[in-house]
Amino acid sequence: MTVEKMILACLTTNPRKAPTGLAVFHCDSKEEMEAIGATLEAVLDGIAHLISEEIMIIVRH
């Protein structure tokens, strides 16, 4: 089986909404979430998708 898409990491400013089963980065502010998201996007070769104001995921397409 080939996995075409995969969530590589999750960034959140709200710990209550953090998912389980993958790497979660807890951020203090939206600015910090965007900064870490930019770094992870480059490192992981993925795309940062904003799911809500509090959750961002890095997905490998």
Binding site: A38, E41, D45, A48
Partner: protein
Amino acid sequence: MSVYIYPVLFGIFCGLFTRLIMLRTDYRQYPTYLHGKIVHISLGFIAAVLGSVAVPALIEENITAVTFLTVAASQFREVRNMERNTLKQMDGYELVSRGDTYIEGIALAFESRNYLVIFTSLLTTIAFIFTDIIISLAVMVVCIVIARAMMDGGKIKDICEIEYVKPRFDGAGLYVDNIYIMNIGLPKRQEEILKYGMGFILKPKNFNAMTTIANLGQRQAILYDLSTSLGIFRDSGTPALAPLAKRDLEDGRVGIFVLPQNRDIERAIEIIGNTPTLENAIRLPSKRKKNEGGMGNDG
């Protein structure tokens, strides 16, 4: 000296000349200069020889010699496999890939060009043996015209209207007109996309066109041609800047999103319009008979 030497030489010349005319290195940079060309010219020469010598062999009632043509056919099929494998390997290193449908189309074209060379050599040799040089030259010209006509397929501008639309964001969603392209989470990436991005809408002229441009391979071919001609604002490790083509499910329009280095709108529309409609992508649902039931009769 055999009486067939001049007809055979003439047939080989005509076949090779036809192959050279069909061997164009265009914006896709394929075949590559120079070694790729040598491979195809050599195969064209072999095809021309086979087409030419088949005629004297038949006249001399050497029927078994014609079986050489079947050897040629399997050889040219091998050419198709070679082209397919080469292009697939190269595709992995492209910033925007051609896609398998485009590659299959190119490989098929290379095989079919050799058959056209065989037919040209065959007909010109027949003309030379049974008529004179003037008629033989006329046959050559007709063969070249037919070969060119058969190699020039349809283009996107024949089946679609193309319109420029500036990409926009609605929250994190990237849109071209009302067609959703993708979710871009980082404001920095959104700024880059708004600064460098271009959007186009392909509006199909009929139902057949709608089905053709829905093909993923056809859409990838458009993106590839556009990126090759205008350059691409991206590097490895920046998948968010990859060009995309998405379909409006309501009316079959396709939204194209690209980040070219040369943002000339008129030129981009011209390039999209000149993208070939791929043989493997063409669908003609309107040709289906109204009274045809069941699974249809393919093949």
